[in-house]
């Protein structure tokens, strides 16, 4: 059977295994773009540092030094990209990391073989 260049998962086909198709490059770039912002990186970092592994949006505004609207915007971007997950608790929104997704992005950047490839 032919080698399938399009992954069954939305993210992410490895860079080093073979030349990336344009759609695959677009997908990986979108995932990386969601991380390629200092405010979003600090949000991810703050969530990771939370005791329970999840953080309330109300606790993420002050440490970033940004407006509530801006923080909400960035959190939405991260959720949309699958980097973090949102959970409603009463009137508070809690966010936690999707570690697998982050690792999958890194794997695409470093691994020399396609997912599921022997050797």
């Amino acid at each position: 059977m032919f080698f399938m260049s399009v992954s069954t998962q939305p993210c992410c086909v490895p860079l080093m295994a073979a030349p990336l198709s344009e759609p695959d490059a677009e997908r990986l770039a979108d995932a990386l773009k969601s991380l390629a912002d200092p405010v979003r990186l600090r949000l991810v970092s703050l969530i990771a540092a939370s005791d329970s592994g999840s953080a309330c949006a109300c606790d993420l505004t002050t440490p970033t030094g940004k407006s509530q609207a801006t923080v909400s915007h960035h959190l939405s971007q991260l959720v949309k990209a699958g980097i973090i997950k949102r959970e409603q608790r009463g009137k508070w929104a809690f966010f936690s990391l999707d570690t697998e997704r982050i690792e999958s992005v890194c794997a695409a950047l470093t691994s020399r073989t396609a997912v599921g490839d022997p050797a």
Copy 2:
């Protein structure tokens, strides 16, 4: 001695170990931005797929479907970010990956401990 939040290397302080400082976030974001573009990802992928591990700029224009000026611009961005290295051979410019740098960016995204930290 105190834990140093500023790495001795320009890149990259791990996200998950502790809340990222703004300068550290900025640095990591810059590294990620250099990768967060579909054309640049395809360039990296094409270089990785080259037989000798390095590719001539002249061979990278056609497969990306971009103008010579655009490709040159993207290659410069990647060199500036330390993702690839440039080498002049006669009138041709050859580019090769800095694998360590790419892995260092990924390590910053996934590792739960600072570089050199015990356990």
